[in-house]
Symmetry: C2
Subunit: 315 residues, 2 copies
Amino acid sequence: MREELAIGIDVGGTKVRAGLVDARGKVFAGAELSVGKERSSKEVSEKAARLAGELMRGSEGEVEAVGCGVPGIVDFREGVVRASPGFPGWRDEPMRGMISGALGRPVFMDNDANMHAVGEARFGAGRGCENVIVLTLGSGIGAGLILGGKLFRGDEGFAGEVGHVVLEPEGPPCNCGGRGCLELFAAARSFELIETRLSGEEASTLRGALGGKGPDPASAAILAREGNEAALRLWEEFGRALGVGIATVVNVLGVETFVIGGGISRSLDLFAEHARRSALSHTYVRHEGSLRLIRAELGDDAGIIGAACQALSCR
Amino acid sequence: MREELAIGIDVGGTKVRAGLVDARGKVFAGAELSVGKERSSKEVSEKAARLAGELMRGSEGEVEAVGCGVPGIVDFREGVVRASPGFPGWRDEPMRGMISGALGRPVFMDNDANMHAVGEARFGAGRGCENVIVLTLGSGIGAGLILGGKLFRGDEGFAGEVGHVVLEPEGPPCNCGGRGCLELFAAARSFELIETRLSGEEASTLRGALGGKGPDPASAAILAREGNEAALRLWEEFGRALGVGIATVVNVLGVETFVIGGGISRSLDLFAEHARRSALSHTYVRHEGSLRLIRAELGDDAGIIGAACQALSCR
């Protein structure tokens, strides 16, 4: 018997990607289009529909469902993108209707972090787990919660704002309007802030090694792998902050499996043990043996696979 | 047609209470026995069984199920109490088997905070909500999570340790082994710590009004209702800390309905607005209109009703 097929679409800030996926999470064919300067939701929706249409024509079997992940605040019931950090002008864009209209068939739409989480939980690093938290470490921190085997969205679809868990109530301001949020200390943009908390000697060693520039994840990783002490300290502080955030999720939810994705997860070996130790120092000792931080396995395909998989299960 | 009946048992540190409850959450008859000095799990289990037996004999209809809530770390699958703060000597006590054996029928057992939460969510202040967080403010902070209409326990039954959400990573030590936990700042035992953070003038006004003693929730409430500025400041700080904890839960779960129970909830009017404002200052603005802090409605009966209700639904 032939497997069911679905199309997953992943909208990013610079390109739209799509893939033909079977019910076991295998990607058969993929395609992408870059997003131009106009970046209107209409333009992006048309590109998504063109990609999906192309893959449908090329598929040998029947495509059962089409799913799409979009960054930002997505009203999945209405299929409307309320706002998106990657597309600052967008307000209440009815993208599901646009893609669906251009394609001539129903489309499922949700937040991209949720789609990543479904992909990793079903077919990636979290497979087999009833409860998994998928953290995506990028310029901010996204999270998808799989609880009892299902995506949990909260009352209005805003679950998983783990990046805005408060680490320092009186800390530096965050662009969410709050202060001292986790993603100020444990995301790509955190490295310059962490640098300010090193000792004067550490900071000047680091600046010296970076030719006077501030650190970023890539340069901090290169230096740390060369044994640069100050860079290793940056990752230690990064891990320590992330661990406090993880402890918070463990204390609230009692979930012990965290899948770490996003660009910075390439450096997981540099901060995983610091994060784990920090998390355990803020949770009951009984989590010691069972708390797991695992690297995401599906890379860029997680969103495509998750969108396809969620679309199949929401038919 | 006659309603289904169940017995709910609520084990506390000083007494065991039980009630005959119908499927609409109405308590028909109740009984209690005090817990003596020995406080072995065998003694407590026997009292629970005697109460349940008495209520069964007195009921006119058939009792369909028996449920029991016990404070502490309860392995609900095995029916074993791993440890309990109210009964320091208990280790891996097979209480479900003891009660069930003495009663001659199956018994359902879980943590008491979970049973409170089920009671309030089904028949109390949270009724009608798909997602509710029930916080019990007492000497510590307990929480029960109702997600998607069901009790969520986490991987091993340890969900809801909201009292150990980290407020100050380098703050005062907590008896969980961590530092700066929420329940150091927003539970019954927090008032002396909060006092140390008042200004010198506020603190000495307060000590004067209390005849030199340190504040506790009851005295702080009396003084605050009399308009004592320093006591009002205590409740402001209490609410501010609780609000940060609530913000954390909102950021992780996107759930916006919080039912506040436990002894301190009698003073909810003194801290609710501070807590709400503090929570909103640490979450996205979109929660402004929908975040709700509601007082628990079932009082001491919540645990009995929840245990009966959960036992009926787990048959």
